[in-house]
């Protein structure tokens, strides 16, 4: 089974990725801080687990989900599938309904499985002493990514300029910032950056490439980009909405007994 030989290569590649990070950390530890790291053995063990974990994770995705997901992205955006026998001249944005649904669903699903989001959610849960729930944050971010990618797909289909959407999004984020609970703001901004990594990027890139190749009048080089930008912007908004809703709910629950 070539999955096992591939795994070996992925482990080597992961080690290669981690080397600069390890060099910086241990370099500073030895030459600048000049102190032994506490629990060094346990930490090295932890690094090893992270390495192995990522390698298994990536190889598993590469073997099981990415080929099917990428093929699916190409098939769903194929004009024959989109038109279902209708004439090409009648093509409008609604013909792409399955693509929007796929974009929404895959955006949500890949974000839930994203390891770096899980890491940030665990940390936020610890720091907030449990008031931010791991699942609450992950679902809020996943909904943001889902909406973002669906809208990004709509943009590629309609061919409207990317910066209209992004700048409008910025305006919304700025307005929301003034109304959101102060504790959530930094975390919300962070969740924009953590959503798109190992799982989401390859599948979303395949979707963007498939669409921009098949939609008449689009070029994969110029229109294929931008989905990641959507996926990094919308979680900021959805996390702030999540915080506002939870604040509102806890306030209402607090008010109730006194009435």
């Amino acid at each position: 089974m070539h999955i096992f030989t591939d795994l070996f290569h992925v482990i080597l590649a992961t080690i290669w990725d981690v080397l600069p990070i390890a060099a910086i950390i241990f370099g500073f530890q030895l030459f600048v801080l000049r102190k032994a790291m506490p629990n060094l053995k346990k930490i090295l063990m932890g690094f090893l687990l992270v390495l192995l974990g990522l390698a298994f994770f990536l190889e598993g995705l590469e073997a099981a989900l990415f080929p099917l997901g990428k093929l699916m992205a190409t098939q769903l955006t194929n004009l024959d599938f989109i038109l279902q026998g209708a004439a090409e001249s009648t093509l409008n944005w609604w013909h792409y309904k399955w693509v929007y649904l796929f974009a929404f669903a895959i955006g949500f699903a890949t974000t839930i499985a994203e390891p770096s989001l899980l890491a940030v959610a665990i940390k936020a849960n610890q720091v907030s002493a449990g008031s931010i729930s791991i699942w609450g944050l992950r679902i809020a971010v996943a909904i943001g990514v889902a909406i973002g990618i669906a809208l990004g797909v709509f943009r590629i289909v309609t061919g409207t300029p990317l910066y209209w959407y992004i700048i409008t999004g910025y305006v919304f984020v700025v307005i929301q910032t003034f109304f959101a609970p102060r504790l959530i703001i930094a975390l919300a901004y962070d969740s924009g950056g953590v959503t798109t990594s190992t799982v989401t990027v390859p599948l979303v890139a395949a979707l963007g490439l498939g669409l921009s190749t098949t939609v008449p009048g689009r070029s994969p080089l110029l229109d294929g980009f931008g989905l990641i930008a959507f996926a990094s912007l919308f979680p900021i908004m959805s996390v702030m909405v999540y915080a506002q809703i939870s604040e509102w709910v806890s306030k209402r629950n607090k008010d109730k007994p006194t009435q």
Binding site: I21, M45, L52, A55, L65, A113, V120, L222, F225
Partner: protein, 243 residues
């Protein structure tokens, strides 16, 4: 026996994290595209790998990456040298980004766009030097971002003013940058932060905020990733204008 139970539980947790993707792909394959699922055993083994990988990752996170970020934050706070802390922040941002596979892929893609758009010559050599320059640009911008982010934690500056300034920077650059580069620039913000960098940098920020008096780890500790996903957008558009 207890640790065995704990392992089973964390494997089940990882499987649950994966269920949405499996569900979405199965639904679209069987009901929308109406095709059978190919290579069933290969897929089953792959899913097993993903579940195992995620479980190992989460354990390693709590044993290795989080403690390292926190320990370094405490050690730097104790040492009290702002200079070395900032050097560390910059190196961490630069070092983790410059070799990032996702960035290498995006830079290569960008060099094709630049060649098609007539911004550079369409030869292997000029494309490669363009891609390399772009990688260095993004890595410097992430180093700069972590540096500013750490400085912000130390000084206790409110994050929103810095981020809004960044947004204004992005908007201004958008009007001057060549149109072909805008999509890549916007995307480059999202791809720079890898799965290993995120936990490390988050733990560093939270650790710093908890070891400095008067800082709240929730308000001041988060936000480093936000800077790291904003500055590449500005720098890449700048690169597109200069080159």
């Amino acid at each position: 026996m207890n640790s065995f139970k704990a392992i089973i539980k964390s494997l089940l947790d990882s499987l649950r994290d994966l269920l949405p993707i499996i569900g979405v792909i199965t639904f679209f394959q069987l009901f929308v595209l109406q095709q059978p699922i190919p290579n069933f055993t290969e897929i089953a083994i792959g899913i097993l790998f993903v579940v195992m990988g995620l479980t190992l990752f989460v354990h390693g996170l709590n044993m290795g990456l989080f403690p390292v970020g926190e320990n370094m934050a405490y050690a730097f706070a104790k040492k009290g040298s702002l200079f070395w802390l900032l050097v560390f922040a910059f190196s961490l941002g630069f070092g983790t980004t410059v070799a990032e596979p996702a960035l290498i892929a995006v830079a290569k893609e960008a060099s094709h766009v630049a060649a098609v758009g007539g911004m550079i010559l369409d030869t292997d050599e000029s494309r490669m030097s363009y891609a390399f320059g772009l990688r260095i640009t993004v890595a410097v911008s992430v180093g700069f971002a972590i540096l500013v982010g750490v400085l912000r934690i130390i000084k206790g500056w409110p994050i929103q003013y810095l981020i809004i300034t960044g947004y204004i920077g992005v908007v201004i650059m958008t009007f001057f940058a060549p149109e072909e580069i805008i999509g890549i620039a916007y995307d480059s913000g999202g791809v720079t932060t890898s799965t290993i960098t995120v936990p490390l940098v988050t733990a560093l920020g939270v650790g710093l905020a908890s070891s400095i008096k008067g800082r709240n780890p929730m308000i001041d500790g988060f936000g480093l990733i936000a800077f790291a996903s904003l500055t590449p957008m500005i720098f890449v558009m700048g690169y597109g204008m200069v080159v």
